[in-house]
């Protein structure tokens, strides 16, 4: 088993690519940059495939397969090693990250061909791959956190890739700062885990956690607090309420970045962490409920905003937030496997949606406003068909990948004991909204009459380097779901069975569904019915008659305005958090503390010294006789002091 002993190769390849391109790429021809950037990721993907093959030959007691390279931090009893591990969960993440990542790298060679800073883009992208691989391969929380912060850094760099545009630079900062809030929670969780278990290694923590006290629902015990803090980190990274605001703004980055980082991989890191820590979460039902409610609320909330967006990428951004909410809903109701399954299928179809949207934008010469598109179906058929596949997948058309994963999530939400049926109903409504806004996007973009200036915009299909990834991802979006097809569709739930050893009891509980197939079929039928309704509504609104839409918008003016303005969340945050903070930083920290206290004390010391010097200076008059006088005075004083013991009795006699 050669490669299993060299786990480090997988993250090292993209790092090498990032180093070479980043340090020397400025002078390389584009061809070299391509070979280095795409090649390193491709090799990493090949290595991941080979690793998966070798992994499947390991016996159960050899898993998790870990390799420790060096001690990174040692302080007191605390040890954190640079240790990589492989288990079933890591294999899934590894293949998704390297596979989708590689396709997006290929796509980028076409999409970014005419952009400046070509080498810089690929260096950042490879750097992102490195950190993401560290994140999923880490064998302890601190190393995971390195990857966690690293992908945040890469995300910041890539969102602000067009840094000359102020909105892009601001969006990068916003993403980074909002993520810090979550990271704070993540760090507190790590401290607490170390305090509770004396270690941050996954194996130690989780084996100890099996025996820890399980909190009751509503009890705020150790497990609950740890899980809530971990979830805070996940909320930041995976853009859930209330920290989702950075993700729509992150669309300022180039489209392949949106596809790779802000749809397929990085934003799912929060789901990965929750699934990785499922042993802890299973001891904290309150935290689970919070996860489910936040996820479900986000799924619904983001979907409603997505209904009225006009920027093609913004629709997809809110869709991503919404779908991430689904994943958390699945985790919250105890079905981590379903959450991970949706993570995987979402990586396929959402990456495809973004790449196809990028292809549309490319075809339109940079236009992102769907109101200025329309009727593109015939000009860019490849893009159209690929995007249609992804849309069917996300909307949950039977047989497509999203159908299985979303169906699994809704079913588990339906069966969840803690939250009742509300989560299921809200999830169902979100599914309706999803189908609606996705077909709205399709109709506005590809159907109807062209609304752009046909004399000036020369619509053209994208180059092959962009179309090949689209086709591959389309195939995955259509077929990717069958790895977990429930038994009634004639497939075995291979995905759950594969993850079983990691997910333990959580996975086994899922396979034993009370009510059996008939219930599952009913729920699936309802979900399909809901999606079809969403499709029909979109068709009615956007293809049949335009006046329907306008009348609706007029009669629900308030709701419409609220949605268009994204519930004013950015404005509220600005008023409640940003402005007070800026005011505090300016008036108190800057004007009062910095200028007043710090500058004041420094300048005060200087001014005091000056003032004393000003007075004492007069002694140095240069006048010899005054010096002499001072010498005399000094001499008299010293002699008087020395003679004082003798003089005292003499003076005493006088009195």
């Amino acid at each position: 088993m050669p490669l299993l002993n060299y786990l480090w190769i997988i993250p090292a390849l993209p790092l090498l690519g990032a180093a070479v391109n980043g340090l020397a790429g400025r002078n390389f021809p584009k061809r070299w940059v391509n070979i280095i950037g795409v090649g390193s990721t491709g090799l990493s993907f090949a290595a991941a495939l080979e690793l998966g093959r070798e992994f499947s030959q390991l016996s159960a007691d050899q898993i998790p397969w870990a390799r420790s390279y060096f001690t990174w931090i040692a302080a007191g009893t605390f040890r954190a090693a640079f240790e990589l591990q492989i288990d079933q969960l890591t294999v899934v993440m590894l293949l998704v990250v390297t596979g989708v990542g590689w396709l997006i790298h290929i796509y980028s060679t076409g999409y970014m061909a005419h952009e400046g800073g070509y080498y810089r883009f690929f260096a950042y992208l490879n750097l992102f791959m490195f950190f993401m691989l560290i994140l999923v391969m880490a064998a302890n929380y601190p190393l995971l956190f390195v990857g966690w912060e690293g992908v945040g850094l890469s995300s910041y760099l890539l969102i602000g890739f067009y840094f000359l545009r102020k909105s892009a630079a601001d969006a990068g900062k916003k993403a980074f700062i909002v993520n810090r809030i979550g990271d704070f929670g993540f760090m507190l969780a790590m401290f607490l885990i170390f305090r509770a278990f004396g270690s941050l290694d996954f194996t130690t923590v989780f084996s100890n956690a099996q025996n820890m006290h399980a909190d009751a629902l509503g009890e705020l015990g150790l497990a609950t607090i740890i899980c809530l803090l971990l979830f805070t980190g996940a909320v930041g990274k995976s853009a859930q309420i209330p920290l989702y605001v950075w993700l729509p703004d992150a669309m300022e980055g180039p489209t392949p970045v949106s596809a790779l980082i802000h749809a397929a991989t990085m934003v799912t890191a929060g789901v990965y962490v929750v699934a990785r820590s499922h042993v802890l979460f299973l001891h904290a039902p309150t935290a689970m409920l919070v996860v489910a409610v936040v996820g479900c609320a986000t799924a619904f909330f983001a979907a409603t905003i997505g209904l009225v967006q006009t920027d093609i990428k913004k629709v997809l951004a809110y869709s991503t937030v919404s779908q991430l909410g689904y994943m958390f809903l699945a985790c919250g109701v105890g079905s981590f496997t379903a959450g991970l399954f949706h993570l995987m299928t979402h990586a396929f179809f959402k990456a495809l949606l973004f790449l196809a949207a990028g292809s549309v934008i490319h075809a339109m010469g940079g236009e992102q406003d769907m109101r200025k598109m329309g009727g593109l179906r015939r000009q860019i058929p490849w893009t159209y068909w690929a995007m249609l596949m992804a849309t069917l997948a996300i909307a949950g058309a039977p047989g497509f990948s999203g159908f299985f994963s979303k169906d699994a999530i809704l079913m588990h939400a339906f069966e969840s004991e803690t939250a009742g049926q509300w989560l299921y109903l809200l999830g169902l409504v979100s599914a309706l909204l999803t189908a609606f806004y996705m077909f709205r996007l399709m109709f506005l973009t590809f159907h109807g009459a062209p609304r752009y200036d046909q004399h000036h915009v020369h619509v053209h299909e994208s180059p092959r380097s962009m179309l090949v990834p689209l086709v591959v991802l389309a195939v995955l979006s259509v077929a990717g779901g069958w790895v977990a097809a429930p038994a009634f569709f004639g497939g075995a739930d291979l995905f759950a069975a594969f993850l079983g050893p990691v997910m333990g009891n959580a996975a086994h509980a899922e396979s034993a569904v009370p009510g059996g197939n008939s219930r599952e079929l009913t729920l699936a039928a309802i979900a399909v019915g809901v999606s079809v309704t969403g499709f029909l509504l979109a068709w009615w609104f956007y293809l049949r008659g335009k006046d329907v839409l306008e009348r609706l918008a007029r009669s629900f003016r308030g709701v419409y305005t609220l949605l268009v303005n994204k519930y004013y969340v950015d404005e509220i945050y600005d008023a409640v958090i940003v402005r007070p903070l800026v005011w505090f930083a300016t008036r108190v920290l800057w004007n009062l503390v910095d200028e007043g206290a710090i500058d004041g004390s420094v300048n005060g010391v200087a001014r005091g010294t000056q003032a004393i010097g000003e007075r004492v200076r007069r002694v140095q008059s240069g006048n010899t006789r005054s010096y002499a006088a001072w010498v005399v005075v000094g001499a008299v004083l010293v002699i008087g002091l020395l003679l004082w013991p003798l003089l005292k009795p003499a003076l005493g006699m006088v009195h």
Binding site: S621, G622, N623, T624, R625, A628, A629, V632
Partner: protein, 105 residues
Amino acid sequence: MAAQSQFLITGSVILSALLFGLGVVAFVFKRNIITVFMSIELMLNAVNLAFVAFSRAWGKLDGQLFVFFVIVVAAAEAAVGLAIIILIARNRQSLNVERVDSLKL
């Protein structure tokens, strides 16, 4: 002998103190540099007198030895000092010590 010697020594010390005091007063209050210079000489010699007196009182020669040193130093000082005075007189056309306050010629 003892009483007489005692009187002589006491007298010498008192005289020395008086001379020294006069020197100090002259140094501080006189304006002419030559006079100031002379008052320094006065103080030096007052100290010499005290040395001799105490040398006599203790019956040791150390004090008298020191007097020679003082005289030698005073001679050297006179040589340097007078040279400075001549330069000042040339540069400022004056011997007023108050005109010499810029710490340079």
